[in-house]
């Protein structure tokens, strides 16, 4: 299988070394990597799921606002970054596959390689609270 771009490879290396939950998606929105802290948050292991299309990962964790309204994919920071190639931020609730709900703060930014190549996006998650 051909290799990914070096910027994406090194993004994964960075994500692998962090204690902060990280998602990496390709320009088509496929979730191509998430790290161990993200696995704990989601109740899902990367080795088990592999790559996930955007329609799946943006809904499988039931993202909701503070009032319990389910968020549409286009409301999510990472999806906004993919469509606009700009940074985005948002706080919302997710329900892990172990049925735990977490409120998370998510910041996403595009991965732009030299000289000006859009290669996907990276999102960092921060757990605010749990219920």
């Amino acid at each position: 299988m051909s290799s990914r771009e070096i910027e994406v490879i090194l993004s994964r290396q960075l994500a692998d070394s962090l204690s902060t939950a990280v998602f990496i998606v390709d320009p088509d929105g496929n979730l191509i990597f998430y790290n161990e802290p993200a696995e704990e948050l989601l109740g899902l292991r990367y080795e088990e799921t592999g790559t996930m299309p955007v329609a799946e990962w943006s809904s499988i964790f039931t993202p909701m606002d503070d009032k319990g309204n389910v968020l549409k994919p286009e409301d999510l920071p990472l999806v906004q970054t993919l469509s606009k190639q700009l940074p985005a931020h948002g706080d919302f609730w997710i329900r892990s596959l172990k049925n735990k709900s977490h409120k998370i703060s998510v910041t996403s930014f595009p991965i732009i390689g030299r000289p000006d190549r859009f290669l996907g996006a990276i999102a960092i998650f921060w757990k605010i609270s749990e219920k």
């Binding site: 299988m1 290799s3 771009e5 070096i6 490879i9 994964r12 290396q13 030299r114 000289p115």
Partner: protein
Amino acid sequence: MPTPGAEKNKYGGNTTCVQIEHDNTCLIFDGGSGIQQLGLHLDPDIPEVNILLTHLHIDHIMGLGYFNPFYNPKCTVNIWGPAGSSESLIERLRRYFSPPFFPVRFKELSAKINIHEIDNSTFKIDDFTIKSEYLCHPGPTVGYRCELGGSVVAFMPDHEPSLGSSDFPNSTEWCSGYNISEAADLLFHDGQYSNKEYDRRVGWGHSSVSDAVDFANLSKVKKMVLFHHDPAHTDLQLEAMVDKSLQYKTIDFDLVIGKENDVFHL
């Protein structure tokens, strides 16, 4: 840096420069100090040369100002090199070709010079199809893959494959440089350090001999030339390092320690 001397007589002490010749096409990879000597051996009336730069670290461009074709008004010199984020290739080259670093300014060179910025690109030079791709090395750095008539030469003088990879050396998808080296007939690859030296230089952008071998095995190349030798290593130290690094290794290709004036035919 160039390190001539009696202790380097076997493998040489010039910095990176490799030429590929086919019919009337001259491809020169990197302009280290070795390019000065190459320029003396070229036909003085050569009408065109192509210099493909992997990156602009000084050991890879320091010989350019001493390359004779640049001073021949009848010669066309095409320079290919990676784009940076903030400065163009020509702006960065001008920094070298300017006082106090060099007395001749870029615009004062006599040859007709064409600049080609590349990134992850595929392009043709005469009958050659050339692919460039950014690699794991500090600053904008590419490797080159040259194909002609089914033969492939890969050129990766500065590369740290184990840093630019997850699960090295088991995954091609997550390995820097694999697209350049895949199934190459001849791979020129960074083999600067012993394992012990590399442990203290992770992130410097160079490879241990052991990692270079693993990378070549993963890439299923037919032959690898280890080069970009450490300037601090004598010929004897280099040989001892390679011997030790290859202990317990399975090698599925021909391995050569590169030395100056080596010629390979494909």
